[in-house]
């Protein structure tokens, strides 16, 4: 389900146990303060990363995960979460309004996607919606997805980068040469070149700098 949900009601009277995973210490405190202001939410802790979070001990019902403040790959954070807190729903917080960033998060298993200029009351609504089993996506970003679909269903999937291509574009954005990328990923330089050609074709670009800009703008780097 895309878009915002009206007046979520929680089936249980128990407060939702929320863990905040946020790399910016100050923003973590701000989030905890906003969420703790609601009597139906129990903030059980905060952590600077999913790896450092005591997930098994805290047993959160829902994790608010900041996409921006982490050096760890998002899918890796999701894997850690699924391994140690399989019951927890995940609400991603991000500054990115690009639909492709949101789609990547949802594909990796997130249950919601919220942009950081959201109002505190709307964030609480999002958390409750997700906790009660609904998906929640910022309506502005969801609108972008629907627009892309209406412009040609299926075309987006063809142009979507594969996992390997995503890895490579991320390394390009870090300024690595083909040789360095091939060494890091244990691939031949020719294979790396082939991947890069496919990336260029999919993104309709012609230069590495354009690829780097795309990676940064879409939150890949």
């Amino acid at each position: 389900m895309l878009g915002s949900i009206a007046a979520p009601t929680l089936s249980s009277t128990k407060p939702v146990r929320v863990l905040v995973v946020e790399g910016q210490a100050l923003f973590a405190k701000a989030l905890c303060q906003v969420l703790a202001g609601d009597p139906e939410i129990d903030v059980v802790g905060d952590s600077d990363s999913m790896v450092n979070a005591p997930l098994r001990r805290l047993r959160p019902d829902l994790i608010v995960l900041d996409l921006d403040g982490h050096h760890v790959e998002f899918s890796e954070a999701m894997r850690t979460c699924r391994e140690h807190a399989p019951q927890a729903k995940v609400c991603v917080l991000s500054t990115h309004v690009q639909p492709e960033v949101m789609q990547r998060c949802l594909s990796a298993g997130a249950d919601g996607y919220v942009v950081k200029d959201i109002l505190p009351a709307e964030l609480i609504r999002a958390v409750k919606s997700i906790a009660s089993g609904h998906a929640y996506v910022d309506p502005r970003v969801a609108g972008g997805v629907l627009k892309r679909r209406s412009n040609g269903f299926g075309r987006a999937a063809q142009n979507e980068l594969s996992v390997r291509e995503t890895e490579i574009i991320r390394l390009i954005a870090r300024g690595m040469s083909n040789k360095e990328i091939s060494a890091k990923l244990h691939l031949s330089e020719k294979t790396v070149k082939n991947h890069i050609s496919r990336i260029f074709a999919k993104l309709n670009i012609t230069a590495r700098t354009q690829a780097a800009v795309h990676a940064i703008k879409t939150g890949l780097a």
């Binding site: 790399g23 910016q24 210490a25 100050l26 923003f27 405190k29 701000a30 989030l31 303060q33 906003v34 600077d48 921006d68 403040g69 917080l93 500054t95 950081k116 200029d117 959201i118 109002l119 505190p120 964030l123």
Partner: protein, 125 residues
């Protein structure tokens, strides 16, 4: 000190404003991105800029702020380390502050930086 904050994470702004108030920085205006004309028109004593979400190069942004307000106190708030932090300092930031800082640390650092004239968070080195 009247302060101008550049911060797109608006959810975070009320809390940040309280923390800045603890360092005697009174937030008079908040913008989601760099707007040099607006900064010039507001003429704050201090600028607090989250450099990680700008549409332009962070060092260029600080440099533009410094050119617009040569005597203002500029604090660059960043996840950057090493060269990225150095560039912010060389561009004219009085204070380079790590995002790993907690609220009390931020207030202390801002007070120190204002007294000394400059401060770089060791975690940004």
């Amino acid at each position: 000190m009247d302060s101008y904050v550049v911060e797109p994470q608006s959810l975070f702004v009320p809390y940040l404003s309280d923390v800045l108030a603890g360092a005697e920085l009174r937030v008079v205006r908040v913008a989601p991105n760099l707007d040099v004309d607006d900064i010039r028109a507001t003429r704050p004593d201090a600028l607090f800029v989250d450099t990680d979400f700008l549409d332009v190069d962070p060092a260029d942004a600080v440099s533009a702020m410094r050119a617009a307000l040569p005597r203002a106190f500029i604090c660059a708030y960043t996840n950057g380390e090493g060269q990225r932090a150095d560039r912010l300092r060389f561009a004219g930031a009085n204070c380079v502050l790590s995002k790993r800082s907690g609220p009390r640390e931020i207030a202390d650092v801002l007070r120190t930086a204002r007294t000394r004239g400059s401060f770089t968070d060791p975690r940004c080195d």
